[in-house]
């Protein structure tokens, strides 16, 4: 059992981290064309709304919540000091989790029932959706049964994750956790491992830089003024436009 725990809570996360890093970089470099959100809205628009929107906004909030608890556990604990604030946090997180679950089920149903969408569905899409569904269901189940998640995450899990990152893994806390939570953790590592091989990569190219750029874009292949200038000597590479 101990060895098994070691594999799940030490081996697996490192495998996940390495595949995640190496895999995404390699995927971006060698198969850059395939990094896309692969939207299927063009084939079916109406029911997608009821799946995609609740799911995405749900996961956005829930993911950021996990990230905050991981990065600043003390801040979260401090915030949770007041029971009212704790309840607000938990209820918000839970409702966004619920919205995620509802959205995901909508998306799954759509994938199975719409003939056109089925044509653009790969096995990996299905596997990923099932994993995410399990993850969300487990998360909601835990949040309901083992209260209060935000506090024990910050108190027990953050140190464990940090211990992994600082290369001195300490699994004493995780090995004592209830099975559902352990499953949730292992499943998370699994999703991270698969990440570079799925459509999830689109979240790394979220177009936030759009906010920064001017609306119009004109590109010149070469810097024509520089090329024609007599002071530009022959060079192995031509003046490119910036």
């Amino acid at each position: 059992m101990n060895l098994f725990n070691l594999f799940l809570f030490v081996g697996l996360p490192y495998i996940a981290l390495v595949t995640f890093l190496v895999g995404t970089i390699q995927r971006y470099r060698s198969k850059g064309f395939k990094v896309s959100s692969l939207s299927s809205q063009f084939l079916e628009g109406r029911s997608l709304f009821w799946g995609s929107v609740p799911f995405h906004f749900g996961i956005l909030v829930v993911f950021c919540g996990h990230l905050t608890a991981f990065l600043i556990p003390r801040g979260v604990l401090l915030w949770n000091g007041d029971p009212l604030r704790l309840i607000i946090l938990q209820v918000t997180a839970f409702s966004f989790g619920l919205s995620m679950l509802i959205g995901l089920s909508g998306l799954l149903v759509r994938r199975f029932t719409n003939a056109r969408v089925r044509m653009v569905t790969t096995r990996m899409d299905l596997l990923l959706e099932l994993l995410l569904f399990t993850q969300t269901a487990l998360g909601l189940w835990m949040a309901f049964n083992y209260r209060w998640g935000s506090s024990w995450f910050a108190a027990d899990l953050s140190p464990y994750l940090w211990s992994l990152l600082s290369l001195s893994p300490d699994i004493s806390a995780v090995s004592e956790l209830p099975l559902a939570i352990q499953l949730h953790i292992v499943n998370a590592f699994l999703i991270f491992t698969l990440f570079p091989f799925t459509r999830l990569v689109h979240l790394l190219v979220a177009p936030l830089h759009y906010l920064m750029r001017p609306y119009q874009r004109v590109i010149w292949n070469w810097d024509r003024r520089a090329i024609r200038h007599p002071n530009t000597p022959w060079s192995p590479t031509r003046p490119k436009n910036t």
Partner: protein
Amino acid sequence: MVFHLDKCIGCHTCSVACKNIWTDRKGAEYMWWNNVETKPGTGYPQKWEDQDIYQGGWLKDASGNLRLRGAGKAKGLLNIFHNPHLPTVDDYYEPFTYRYLNLIEAPPGDDQPTARPVSLITGEPMDVKMGPNWDDDLSGTPDYARKDPNLEHLSPAEQEAMFQLERMAFFYLPRICNHCLNPACVASCPSGAIYKRGEDGIVLINQKVCRAWRMCVTACPYKKSYYNWHTGKSEKCILCFPRMEAGYAPACMHSCVGRIRYIGVLLYDADRIHAAASADTKDLVNAQLDVIVNPFDEEVIASAKANGVPDSTIKAAQNSPAYKFIKEWGMALPLHPEFRTLPMLWYVPPLLPVMASVRPGDQSQKAKLNDMAKTWTDDWLYDTSTTELWGTVEQARFPLKYLASLFSAGDTHAVADKLKKLMAVRIYRRFKTVGDVTEERMKAALRETGLTQESAEGIFYLTALAKFNDRFVIPPAHREQAMEMLEFTGDVKGNTGFGFRERPERGL
């Protein structure tokens, strides 16, 4: 670019040429980068001109600022998970083919084998309900012609008049991407994948950077950016840039049977674009004309040179048929300028089907024919005579308002002006060749439209006689630089051939 609608015969050769070269692939079957619509009609995708449905193009808000109607930074990012205005495949049509093999390979049976239509998306048998030119030549039909969004500006009586059996007319509207000066597609792309090429103004989508956020499909008011459902990337007309770089005309233009298409360099002042795009609706066309500068002007030449424009490009701009039609003769109008993308495809509005009237035919000729000869039995004939000078413009079979809603944001004078010019050239040529028009009438016609005999001759030449090299003036500089547009030969010296991208050097 200029399309001379008077000459389009609606043969769809252009569409087929484009399809065969660029969009004959999975995921792109439904795309027609070049399509030809019958007007009045709903077009492709259905009712694309109705921006209440599709939310494309720019809007000028109360404070005079331009913003994208259905996309933009805030809207685009908020709607990124589900774009409420995205057309779906049913707004275009579900692509289909027929099971032809069934005709030869069906097992023996009681029934004649048939080639059933099957969907190119799912492969399942389907009923074909739409196609890219489903309403071809169907003027007057309740489902198509009468749902034309441009009819909104016409009174019910005017609409009825348009569709009376004996007056009914239609014309063709070939459409490609306009390679706009103020492209909404570029502005709407969250990834920044779409850009306008400085060298030739072609608007392209970088397929490696496109991430299927689908905003350009909504933003383009002409619906000329398409989503490839198979690759998960958007695609649009590339103006055959590999051909253009090598000095060839784009395939649709090259193959055009009616020879309606002209392409040439236009020099423009990019600093004026923003002001032109935010002009008042009634001034839009003139503001756009002002952006285009005179390639013979010394100052323009000097500043073009200072900006690194090669001499050959300036020369091409001076010979450009587009410049002649658009600026010199003022015969062309952009399609739906009110979308404010400053489209750079200009149309010479159609004269013939619009202006011709019907009158009782002349039966005397028929009597002289042999009984065996086949003749038309109807008693009506198109009257394209010029007995009245402008009468027919005002009583045109299409209310000018209809054309104005297409080409000049509602300004009927602008359209009438172009039609009169077309008419004046006819009168001039009629005077020269047939001789049943007096010199005074010819001169009066030219005077009133502001044309001279030389310009009328020029218009006639470019309309009726123009050869390949007159219609397509593409700077030869492109040919020399074609390779270098993609990569500089100096950069790859010392490399080992096609496809081997690493330099044979030591180290990592």
